[in-house]
Point group: C2
Chain length 187, copies 2
């Protein structure tokens, strides 16, 4: 474990999984250290503090989300299908064994009130998603209101799947989205 780049990746992978699975405050730096298999000194030489590590993990989550969404929509051709692909992506995610809700919603709930950085990153991620939806809706000739509604459906599906344990929330959100889209396009 000499390569700094590789050690850094190991730490980020470990922290990513631990923070997501158990919550941020519930995971100590020692747990991250042991999961990453490096020494505490090395860990602190790679990331100056737990806060700094958390910021990097949050950035990683942003990348993961963006990749997942863009991968799901890559097989779709029309803007409408790209929009609906979002809910298919959610469906696959909700059914994973380690699904524990949206990492940004969870982080915001845990630290949003106490850490402006966390609140701002979560907010940025949500706004970026809304922007993505809005751009597709615009291509489609829909209104900004429709875009907002489709984003709300995606958010609601995530909390419903996580807390109520209902993976079919993605399917329901998709069905609602289809209705809302069709209504605007045939009006």
């Amino acid at each position: 474990m000499i390569d700094p780049q590789q050690a850094r990746t190991q730490v980020l992978l470990a922290a990513n999984a631990l923070f997501y699975q158990r919550g941020i405050q519930a995971v100590g730096m020692d747990a991250v250290r042991s999961a990453a298999g490096i020494s505490l000194k090395r860990l602190y030489s790679l990331f100056p503090s737990k806060d700094a590590l958390l910021i990097e993990v949050l950035k990683g989550w942003t990348a993961e989300w963006n990749e997942g969404v863009s991968l799901a929509s890559s097989s779709a051709t029309t803007p409408r299908d790209k929009l609906l692909a979002i809910y298919d992506f959610l469906d696959g995610w909700f059914r994973q064994d380690d699904f524990r809700g949206c990492a940004f919603i969870n982080s915001f709930g845990e630290l949003g009130a106490v850490s402006p950085d966390v609140a701002e990153i979560a907010r940025g991620q949500k706004l970026a998603f809304q922007h993505y939806v809005a751009s597709l809706v615009e291509e489609l000739g829909g209104s900004p209101a429709l875009a907002a509604q489709l984003a709300i459906l995606a958010e609601g599906a995530q909390t419903t799947a996580a807390i109520s344990g209902r993976p079919d929330a993605a399917f329901q959100a998709r069905a609602a989205a289809e209705v809302l889209i069709r209504r605007e396009l045939t009006a």
Copy 2:
């Protein structure tokens, strides 16, 4: 401050506000004690542990939510208007200065992975809300799918208003709900 009932109420009020405003782990028992204006010994004679106190606070949140929803729907007469009143209730809530998102979503994000009690209470609250929506939708002659979709819209509005800071999420959710309801009733 001799009346045990009154002291208990003071503690619950203080803990309610502090936990909601700053998060649960960020608030120490000493902060609760000082906000409630009682001694630590008395606090622990009223609630045997922080966990026990948290459970009671969560129950209080459940009662607050139920009262808010039923109050909002009390002025409506038809099932459709009662359903839409939910989003009006959300709208008023989102615009309050101290709005910091749904307490159950936040608690679940913070402790759901680590405390089965918190996870179960949050789940119970969400399921009860879904049940309430479903009963109104049934009165209205709508399908279970419509009920699920209306609940998802409400959840999504809450996270969107909280994280993105968009109080108009309630309005957007309401507009979407109107479309979905109308579509089922005129089909």
